[in-house]
């Protein structure tokens, strides 16, 4: 009888411990998913805000969106990517594996990929000689870039032809005068 009671109480203790563990794991899962959800829905910070509120945002995790411009500059296992949100371009330091997702960089002939990065914002990055930058942790391509086809502007073509024609006429007149 005594043995049964001891066995039951130890069973209860084990059950309680299991329940505690389950509760702990459950709350951990909830916490992680809430944080992830929070990060994914975090308000996007503009480049102007980053520059003007640099002191306030220094060291914080932020979300930034912008069009990749120029070159993806590979530096060892990392890369520098500059992204312009229409106000300013901000330098983003990221693992090269993240940068590999970028297909188009903005230039005269291309509209670059629009990316969303989440990462640590540095007002004066100690790793990069005091640059104002973002160290990206995640990268998401939200809009794919594309080549910009160049169409010949008729008005420009016609103006060129007229002006070159006048120049030619002047040259002929000059030659006739010389003779």
């Amino acid at each position: 009888m005594m043995y049964k009671l001891v066995a039951r109480s130890s069973e209860l203790i084990v059950k309680k411990q299991k329940t505690k563990k389950a509760a702990l794991v459950f709350s951990l899962i909830i916490f992680i998913s809430v944080s992830a959800l929070k990060a994914s829905f975090a308000q996007v910070v503009s480049s102007t805000e980053l520059i003007n509120k640099a002191k306030e945002l220094d060291g914080k995790t932020i979300v930034y969106q912008g069009e990749v411009i120029g070159d993806v500059m590979k530096r060892g296992n990392f890369a520098w990517v500059n992204a312009n949100d229409g106000q300013n371009a901000i330098g983003i330091w990221m693992d090269y594996s993240l940068a590999k997702e970028i297909a188009y960089m903005g230039s005269y002939k291309f509209i670059g990929d629009v990316i969303e990065v989440s990462g640590i914002f540095n007002r004066a990055c100690p790793e990069h000689g005091g640059d104002l930058d973002i160290h990206a942790q995640t990268l998401r391509k939200i809009e794919s870039g594309r080549p910009v086809p160049e169409k010949l502007t008729r008005a420009k073509r016609n103006t060129t032809l007229i002006l070159i024609g006048i120049l030619g006429l002047l040259w002929i007149l000059y030659q006739l005068r010389r003779k």
Binding site: I51, A89, Y108, G129, L132, E150, L152, T153, K156, R157
Partner: protein, 501 residues
């Protein structure tokens, strides 16, 4: 009594102006070639239109106003000051056609900024600009740095005595050779040799930094032209911050300093007279003023506490300081970081550096080292005179290629130009304050414009009032030409209106 200019004066001025315009039109062919090479059709057409229009105008002026007479001093000065204004308007045509500027005034602001090697810009969406247009922005800095008239002298003028008058009118009072045309050609030789070396150095650094080779060398050429000519334009909107590279910053610092050195000194260094660097009043003054202004800036930055590490402070502080002192205007921080993050003391350090400038007969603007050196020597002489017995003969010497005895007229001339610059800095500050900007920021931007620097603390934007844009254009123009030719032009217009026949 002021005499009304004769029709003949106007004819001579127009003839020489026409020659300079022809020279300018030919330079527009360089971006046409680049545009075609990169397959940029519309940008190439923009430059063809501008080339043809400018050439027709130049040919028209030289034919209608044909003369064989040489220029006198007044005419030479007017040709120079007018040619800068005409170049600003004509060079803006291809840029305006690109659609990257809000208005023609904004485009003219940028072309004056380019020719005067300032670097302030009102361009929009720079990161999507064509190679041809971007090249032109930097090429006008290269042309303006050597001097628009120097370009024309090298191309068209052969041995005319009027050439010297135009050369002086463009704020170059030193000749490397007895003949100004040979001097102009030497200036080009130095610049082209450095252009090749600088482009190679920056191109290699760019490739090592992970840039595509085409971009690395294109950026290398553009950045070299703007750094050596102490201009400050850059192919990307982030300026030098775009590269995130210490090596790029070091190479550009070297180029900026080379650009701030007198062409005459370059000649002596090339000829093996390296000791001159250590003895020359300009290099000695430059070294001292860089150290003093950097000390002020560094103390300010340490107080502000934005850069906790000494290396970080040195990298950011020294770069903006040297860029300001040499009159380049390259930035590795965002414009708004100056008023937001740097404290007033550090900004004052940079303002002082910008106001002082580099060497005479270099590509920099501002008061310049020779004048600062002479003023200090004159002060030293006066103090000695007070301290020493009345009978003592006090003489002061300075070394600038040769050793000279300091004369009162040199000190007077240095002080007059210094005074003019201080008035010009003040004038722009007043206009800035009139439009509601704080004193320090107004002074910063005004000094940057008048001293042809290009560092910005955020006042220069496409949205700023037109009157402020015009003020900065005037400051860039007058500051680059060092006043005399500008005053002559103003006097000429007064004579046209009020002069007696």
């Amino acid at each position: 009594m002021v005499l009304k200019p004769r029709l003949e004066d106007i004819k001579i001025i127009a003839f020489y102006l026409g020659k300079i315009i022809i020279g300018l039109s030919l330079t527009m062919l360089v971006p046409v070639i680049f545009g075609l090479a990169f397959g940029e059709i519309n940008p190439s057409l923009d430059f063809l239109i501008s080339f043809a229009f400018t050439l027709i105008l130049g040919l028209g002026l030289t034919k209608i106003c044909f003369t064989e007479k040489d220029l006198n001093w007044m005419q030479g000065m007017i040709v120079v000051s007018l040619s800068w204004l005409v170049a600003m308007i004509l060079s803006a045509i291809p840029l305006y056609l690109s659609g990257h500027w809000k208005s023609y005034l904004d485009t003219c602001f940028d072309t004056m900024s380019g020719f005067a090697t300032t670097g302030l810009t009102l361009v929009q969406n720079l990161d999507h600009m064509s190679y041809a247009h971007n090249l032109w922005r930097h090429l006008i800095m290269f042309i303006g740095g050597q001097g628009i008239v120097v370009v024309a002298l090298s191309l068209f003028v052969r041995g005319a005595s009027g050439a010297f008058k135009m050369y002086v009118g463009e704020a170059r009072d030193e000749r490397i050779f007895p003949n100004v045309v040979s001097t102009a050609r030497f200036i080009w030789l130095v610049s082209i040799v450095y252009l090749i070396l600088g482009t190679l150095a920056l191109g290699i650094v760019g490739i090592l930094n992970g840039m595509r080779w085409v971009n690395a060398f294109f950026h290398g050429a553009c950045i070299f032209m703007a750094a050596f000519d102490t201009g400050g334009f850059s192919p990307q909107s982030q300026n030098i911050l775009y590269y995130h590279s210490l090596s790029y910053e070091i190479v550009t610092i070297v180029i900026m300093i080379l650009g701030a050195i007198n062409f005459k000194l370059h000649y002596h260094i090339w000829m093996g007279n390296r000791k001159e660097v250590m003895r020359n009043i300009e290099t000695v003054t430059l070294f001292i003023t860089i150290m003093v202004t950097f000390f002020i800036t560094a103390v300010g930055l340490a107080q502000a506490g934005i850069y906790p590490g000494a290396l970080m402070l040195l990298r950011k502080g020294f770069y903006q300081l040297v860029s300001g002192h040499t009159g380049t205007g390259y930035q590795t921080i965002y414009a708004n970081q100056f008023p937001n993050e740097w404290n007033p003391l550090s900004m004052v350090g940079v303002i002082c550096a910008m106001a002082l400038g580099g060497a005479v007969c270099s590509t920099t603007g501002a008061i310049k080292m020779l004048r600062i050196g002479i003023i200090f020597k004159a002060m030293k002489e006066d103090i000695k005179r007070i301290i020493m017995p009345e009978r003592a003969i006090v003489v002061q010497k300075f070394h600038h290629i040769k050793t000279f005895f300091l004369e009162d007229k040199q000190a007077r001339s240095a002080l007059i130009i210094t005074f003019c610059y201080l008035v010009l800095y003040g004038l722009g500050s007043l206009v800035g304050m009139f439009y509601g900007h704080p004193f320090l920021e107004s002074l910063f931007e005004s000094t940057s414009a008048a001293a042809n620097v290009g560092l910005s603390c955020g006042l220069t934007t496409p949205g700023m009032p037109s009157a402020l844009k015009l003020t900065y254009i005037f400051q860039m123009w007058a500051g680059r030409l060092e006043f005399m030719s500008v005053f002559t032009l103003i006097g000429f217009f007064i004579a046209v209106v009020k002069g007696k026949k």
